[in-house]
């Protein structure tokens, strides 16, 4: 089939400015056919701008956008064959549910019998039956979202675009909708671009994630790669919890080793190209890689238990170790008894388990990551 060798969506050097503000800088990204790519980052990072550029609501100042191998820079939204789901659903208040879902088909001139059939199929797909004649304001938030999804999918779009669709839902509904959308997306094989600032959502849903910050794409990779091998300190801090510990670098036989207390931790050397042996580095360690040292294990950090946070299935313990960490060190324990076993004030030794720590150059002067 023509176009099957092309990436479904491709951006090359895309930039967008609003007056003096650079919303998106030199973005290059390929999204594969059928994949769910998430654009993840804090507000203002450019993820919504990128989505709007693919949708055609904005025009790039520089760069190229291609959908299915075809350059779409000059092609207006209504000719791009996309499907979009907005944060507030944007259902047409003056139309019934059936008319809302059928709108895209009507615009394409699909005949009535076909139209009715496809609308019914789309509503079944999102498991919403019996509401054809109601108006949007008569449905709950979760139901409205299903309608918005059905409306976007019924036109068999080349790309499905989702703009923070779950932010208005409560937690339980959010999680179940995430699972449902993922299943539908898999079932239909529709290429999807998903925008969110919620990193746990991104990790659970995506085939790949593009982490963005201050208008630039910082890293693109699978959820596992993003989590275990963050490319820079921003990605390491933004995705998941992380502890930043002051260590020193040692280069041994071509490998980079971070020295922290009595522990020697091997770390990827690419981010440390400019760091000399003996220099300070910052070691980024996930809470699950820290544990209370057993006898005989090298102690990386000694700290004092300052606080606990009971989370049901596990306990968060916060340690003070001011010479190693500027803020509190977060360790997780699965022992239900942790609060009694390590009460506040206890002095503990922490060792580092696992091999997924990352080290980066210390951050220059006071400016946040």
């Amino acid at each position: 089939m023509a176009g099957s060798e092309h990436a479904a969506v491709r951006l090359r050097g895309a930039s967008k400015r609003f007056g003096k503000v650079v919303a998106l800088q030199d973005a290059t990204l390929s999204i594969h056919r059928g994949e769910l790519m998430t654009l993840l980052g804090p507000s203002g990072c450019g993820k919504t701008t990128l989505l709007n550029l693919v949708a055609g609501f904005l025009v790039v100042d520089d760069g190229e956008i291609e959908i299915d191998g075809k350059r779409v820079n000059a092609i207006p939204t209504y000719k791009r064959e996309i499907g979009m789901m907005f944060q507030n659903y944007a259902l047409f208040p003056h139309m019934s549910i059936a008319d809302n879902v059928g709108y895209g088909l009507r615009m394409r001139g699909i005949a009535k019998p076909d139209l009715k059939r496809r609308v019914a199929e789309a509503l079944s797909l999102v498991r919403l039956n019996g509401v054809d004649d109601r108006r949007p304001h008569q449905l709950s938030g979760g139901q409205q979202q299903r309608v918005a999804l059905a409306r976007a999918l019924v036109v068999s779009p080349k790309v499905l675009l989702l703009d923070e669709p779950f932010s208005a839902l409560d937690r339980n509904l959010r999680v179940s909708m995430q699972i449902e959308i993922k299943e539908i997306q898999r079932q239909l094989g529709v290429t999807t671009i998903f925008v969110t600032h919620d990193q746990s959502e991104a990790l659970s849903l995506s085939d790949r994630i593009a982490v963005m910050f201050e208008g630039r794409i910082r890293q693109v990779g699978s959820p596992d790669e993003i989590y275990r091998r963050p490319a820079d300190r921003f990605v390491a801090s933004f995705v998941g919890d992380v502890n930043v510990l002051r260590a020193r670098l040692d280069r041994v036989a071509g490998y980079a080793v971070a020295m922290l207390g009595a522990a020697r931790i091997s770390v990827p050397s690419e981010p440390l190209a400019r760091v000399q042996s003996g220099d300070r580095v910052e070691l980024f360690v996930r809470p699950e890689q820290l544990r209370f040292a057993n006898a005989g294990e090298p102690i990386a950090v000694e700290g004092t238990v300052a606080a606990h946070s009971y989370q049901g299935g596990y306990v968060n313990l916060y340690l003070e170790a001011p010479d190693v960490c500027a803020s509190r060190i977060l360790v997780r324990s699965l022992e239900p008894d942790a609060i009694n076993r390590w009460p506040a004030g206890t002095r503990v030794g922490i060792s580092i388990a696992g091999s997924d720590a990352m080290a980066f150059e210390p951050k220059p002067a006071p400016h946040s990551v």
Partner: protein
């Protein structure tokens, strides 16, 4: 909970105050309505004997009939033109930014602060200077200027209440800009457009001061005809006509309320 005697007294005084104010507001209409049924050929209140003949006279009087017809023509044309002009400007003000935007807005709304007297006189002088015949065109042009702020405001508020994401959603589903306007924008703006038109039509139909200047004998609107009549005769046909006037306007607004909701027509309520 037991209320003190003072609170009960205050409650009664409050109700009386409200009734008094309401009565005060209704009083002129009530007086005129009752005077219309007076059998004698004088405008007096309360009537000594009752008759309905002045209604028949008012409806048959040629000047009133032509005044009504003219008012209809002027109001219909002026409101429609004002709607077209007002809507395009409302779009410009809502959707675009450009230099002197605030100035433009002020100019469009300026007829709210300029006395109708001045506007009417201005049009009269202009018409004389450029040799513009004193026909319907002058009157309609003058009324467009007078009612434009109301239409503009009504449409503008509707536009602000219109979620632009709906238009983006329509475009994302394959609707060209023309189809977006036809299927999404206009249907959702309709209450604001109709409300604006109705308000403009009622205001134009009732307008007196400027019309006094710009109308001529054959184009005079109903309020002007009534004024000319009352200068010579002071009989209850005036009152009868007023009653008919009130009834007609009230009916129109009741219909508008049923269809659109009066709060939305007058733009004191937001749509949700």
């Amino acid at each position: 909970m037991a209320r003190s005697a003072f609170q009960r007294l205050l409650g009664i005084v409050g109700v009386l105050a409200v009734l008094t104010i309401l009565g005060f507001v209704i009083l002129p209409a009530a007086v005129v309505t009752l005077a219309a049924f007076n059998d004698k050929a004088i405008l007096a209140f309360p009537p000594e004997t009752w008759s309905g003949r002045w209604f028949a006279k008012a409806l048959a009087y040629e000047d009133f009939r032509s005044g009504f017809r003219n008012g209809f023509i002027v109001a219909g044309c002026a409101s429609s033109i004002a709607l077209l002009v007002g809507t395009t400007f409302a779009f410009a003000l809502d959707r675009y930014s450009f230099p002197l935007k605030r100035t433009l807005e002020a100019v469009l709304l300026s007829s709210l602060v300029v006395p109708h007297f001045t506007i009417g006189l201005g049009f009269l002088i202009l018409a004389a200077q450029i040799g513009w015949a004193r026909g319907f065109a002058v009157v309609i042009a003058c009324h467009v200027v007078l009612v434009l702020p109301f239409v503009l405001r009504s449409v503008y508020v509707s536009l602000r209440n219109l979620d632009q994401k709906l238009e983006l959603a329509a475009a994302s589903l394959g609707a060209s800009p023309a189809r977006v306007i036809a299927t999404i924008t206009l249907p959702l703006l309709a209450p604001g457009l109709v409300g604006g038109w109705l308000l403009a039509a009622v205001l134009s139909f009732n307008e007196f001061t400027a019309s006094l200047f710009v109308t001529a004998q054959r184009t005079q609107t109903l309020p002007v005809a009534m004024y000319n009549y009352v200068r010579e005769y002071a009989d209850p046909s005036m009152a009868a006509l007023s009653v008919l006037y009130i009834a007609a306007t009230a009916t129109l607004l009741i219909v508008a309320n049923l269809y659109l909701g009066l709060g939305k027509v007058l733009n004191v309520e937001s749509r949700r």
